[in-house]
Symmetry: C2
Subunit: 325 residues, 2 copies
């Protein structure tokens, strides 16, 4: 009788242990596969918190090897997606593409001082000599041909092929910033080669000083007031693929604090796509982020109240739109 | 010795069985939860085929009860998402919202003869008497206030509040078609109350005749040729929330065959948001779907070649844009 009971206990113990082991095996296998999916698919990453909520019985495994080879989606999108239209993941930045305008909605980068290196603060004129001369602009074949900008669209258009994610920010994967998805028609003299370049250098200086900066860059198509009191949108399109010429460009910067409890600091700039006088200071282009959100149709920081996240406030009303309409 | 072996076999058998049972339990629990998620989250549904590929050891359970209470996402989006911007799921239609223009990108409905009922073919003038008079237009609070159209925007604007998903198509959840997300500024006389209404009645007639029709409806902001050979976009915006006034509206219809092996039939219409002469035939507004895709920045049928899906071809070049610029 005694050995009977012993046998029963052994069988029961085995049953429970193996049931749990089986459940854990399936849990572990599924979550690891899903983590791989989530790291290269922007939309799977977007819903990942909901997906992983399903696996409630065991802890989600943290694979060290997986973390190391992790593409940077989780890192780059730390502050949320400003919009969800046609998202593309590149090695060093994430981009949402506007198929109607053949220009990106927004590009998001995470800049770190160690990746920038000491040569980062140089003007792009000098940078070009060393690395940019070999790189050519190219159409991005991951966009369906119906919505793809081509090199011919920019040729003889009178506009520069202006970078959204700046080439100088990405030393390792610099070539990817030359995809036309990351390019927009910009006024050359007085803008792309002047004020916009100044802003890009300012961002790199911030990065070298504070270590970690997130940058959202994108176009704005700003409505104009009509005489009848209504508003109207009006902008040019170049080339046979009809690439839109934005009226303004924005950059939203999130500078992370080096202090352990320090809140990040946020700044937003809007520059008109126009010949800007040389003597104007960058601070004159500071802008309330809600104006950018309204005109660009984007929502930053998942709609969280800014004052909860950021240590510094932004100007309540900006000078930019008053100066440049 | 013999009983020892017997005991070992029992323990091993129990171990294997319980391991598999545990794995299946976890598999079944996770996939059922995920199926629930996928049915009310448009983005989870978009990546669902990739998610379920992870569960490769057992069959995905088909829950009858779940299928019955299934919201209609899987049914409505049978032919794929034309775009991925800000997707909202309503009881009877799916909508992608353009936060920059405060008007939808597209609305997708699946119309079935049994749901329409015999009164469906009536003009909306008569329909209004019975059901529409109680329903009021309302802002959709699921859109952040920064991007939300308000009733005041349409007041005294000179434009009708035109339905994208027609109110007459949805007898059970008619009130949801009155959310301002499903509304766009339309010219009243000669368009919303004439040609557009005629097109909506035509769609319902098709549904009653063929049983099952999918409808994509949305706005177009069509570029105009400039004197310098380039193109420009120009459209009005009404109200303090700046609601865009589209230059055209499109409807893409997919009529499913009643025959078991019959291919579906596809038609696309583009109507200018203008006063249209009464004597013009609906067929004059037939349009090549690739023109709609190009101007609206949308891609229908997941980019599959039309001739593989559809029994009928579409006109190679349309008259619409030639007549109305």
């Amino acid at each position: 009788m005694n050995s009977r009971w012993q046998a029963l206990i052994v069988v029961l113990g085995t049953a429970v242990t193996c049931f749990l082991a089986g459940a854990y095996f399936q849990h572990d296998h599924a979550t690891r596969q899903l983590q791989k999916l989530v790291q290269h698919d922007p939309y799977a990453y977007y819903v990942s918190s909901k997906i992983f909520k399903v696996f409630q019985f065991f802890k989600i495994p943290q694979d060290k090897a997986l973390s190391a080879q992790r593409v940077r989606l989780e890192d780059i999108m730390k502050y949320g997606y400003p919009g969800l239209d046609d998202i593309h993941l590149y090695s060093d930045f994430v981009l949402s593409y506007d198929r109607r305008n053949r220009v990106a909605h927004w590009v998001c980068e995470h800049l770190r001082a160690d990746a920038l290196g000491s040569a980062a603060i140089t003007d792009r004129g000098r940078g070009r000599v060393r690395s940019r001369s070999r790189i050519s602009y190219r159409p991005d074949l991951s966009v369906p041909s119906n919505f793809r900008a081509a090199l011919a669209d920019y040729r003889n258009s009178g506009f520069d092929r202006g970078h959204l994610a700046a080439a100088g920010n990405h030393r390792t994967h610099c070539d990817e910033t030359f995809y036309l998805t990351n390019i927009a028609p910009q006024i050359g003299r007085g803008f792309n080669r002047a004020a916009w370049n100044k802003l890009e250098i300012y961002v790199r200086n911030l990065t070298l000083r504070y270590g970690s900066v997130y940058v959202f860059t994108g176009p704005i198509y700003k409505p104009k007031a009509r005489s009848n009191g209504n508003w109207s949108i009006e902008y040019e399109m170049i080339g046979s693929n009809m690439v839109a010429v934005p009226t303004h460009f924005f950059k939203v910067l999130i500078v992370e604090s080096k202090l352990p409890q320090g809140k990040p600091y946020m700044e937003a700039y809007v520059l008109p796509n126009a010949r800007i006088p040389d003597n104007i200071n960058l601070r004159d282009y500071l802008c309330d982020i809600r104006e950018i959100e309204h005109y660009a149709g984007l929502q930053f920081f998942n709609g969280l109240r800014r004052s909860r996240i950021f240590g510094s406030n932004f100007p309540r009303s900006s000078q930019v739109f008053q100066n440049f309409g």
